[in-house]
């Protein structure tokens, strides 16, 4: 069990989305924007290639933080800012730190990086911990 105390780092989450992850997430979420699933289309609008869905990346932040909470409904809130594009087949790393704990609710801050680039910043969550 992770210690939930001010200053404690939650276990880092590392995940490498495979080549077809964006296709599965498109189906699961209903977001079929071709910039996520069509390499040629993505390049035609000036992107290096297909990019990850921002909300899939946010879901990794939610997972990293939620895992430290008390049950499947422990995550009470999460806000983030998107700072950069994420790409399939590159490792995404989410780091999160406990800022404060009061009345069984932890305030957690988080960021996500891919290949040294910060792609999610100012992640802030409230997590039920007891």
């Amino acid at each position: 069990m992770t210690e939930i105390a001010p200053g404690a780092a939650l276990p880092e989450l590392k995940v490498t989305p495979d080549k077809y992850l964006t296709v599965r997430y498109a189906g699961a979420s209903g977001d079929f924007n071709p910039i996520h699933i069509d390499e040629e289309f993505a390049q035609s609008v000036g992107l290096p290639g297909r990019i990850l869905h921002g909300l899939w990346m946010m879901a990794q932040v939610a997972r990293a933080i939620g895992a430290a909470g008390d049950g499947p409904a422990a995550l009470r809130s999460l806000s983030i800012q998107f700072r950069g594009m994420g790409f399939p087949e590159q490792e995404l790393a989410v780091s999160a730190t406990v800022k404060d704990v009061a009345d069984g609710v932890a305030t957690v801050e988080a960021e996500a990086f891919q290949d040294g680039r910060r792609i999610i910043r100012k992640g802030q969550a409230k997590l039920q911990v007891g």
Binding site: R24, A28, S29, A59, A62, R63, R76, I80, Q81
Partner: protein
């Protein structure tokens, strides 16, 4: 368009299905049995498999699309990026729930040569409880 601020859209209903919860949980890597196995969910005190928090995207997206594609709002999609997102969750959503989502245009503003479009979604379950409030910030370059 600033005069779109305050505009609301008709509530959109979403029926939460067990297989959709499993499919979504798998796509985002939520592997806890409570999201996949109805027996495990019941043992943990839930009526059926529990949707991961970010499943809010699934039940609120159709309602949000009405606002995003509204000509009164006037978003230029070729130049739009998702700037930020906030969700505040209430009671957990489980398979079998009926979720209704309403969306409001909260803010349209220009800052530093960028146009900010902020939408708020509010999703309630069949018992009238607010299960999620979402704040969606889109930026048009």
């Amino acid at each position: 368009m600033p005069d779109a601020v305050g505009k609301t859209y008709p509530s959109v209903a979403y029926a939460v299905g067990r297989e959709k919860v499993r499919e979504f949980a798998s796509a985002v890597g939520e592997e806890a049995p409570v999201h996949h196995d109805p027996d495990a969910a019941r043992e943990a005190g839930y009526a059926d498999v529990v949707a991961p928090p970010m499943f809010a995207v699934v039940y609120s997206s159709r309602a949000l699309a009405s606002a995003l594609f509204d000509p009164d709002v006037g978003i230029d999609f070729a130049r739009m990026v998702h700037g930020g997102q906030e969700f505040v969750w209430g009671p957990p959503v489980v398979a079998g729930d009926e979720i209704a989502t309403e969306v409001e245009v909260k803010e349209v503003a220009e800052r530093g040569g960028l146009a900010f479009f902020v939408f708020e979604s509010r999703s309630t379950n069949q018992d009238g409880e607010t299960v999620c409030t979402g704040t969606w910030t889109n930026i048009v370059r």
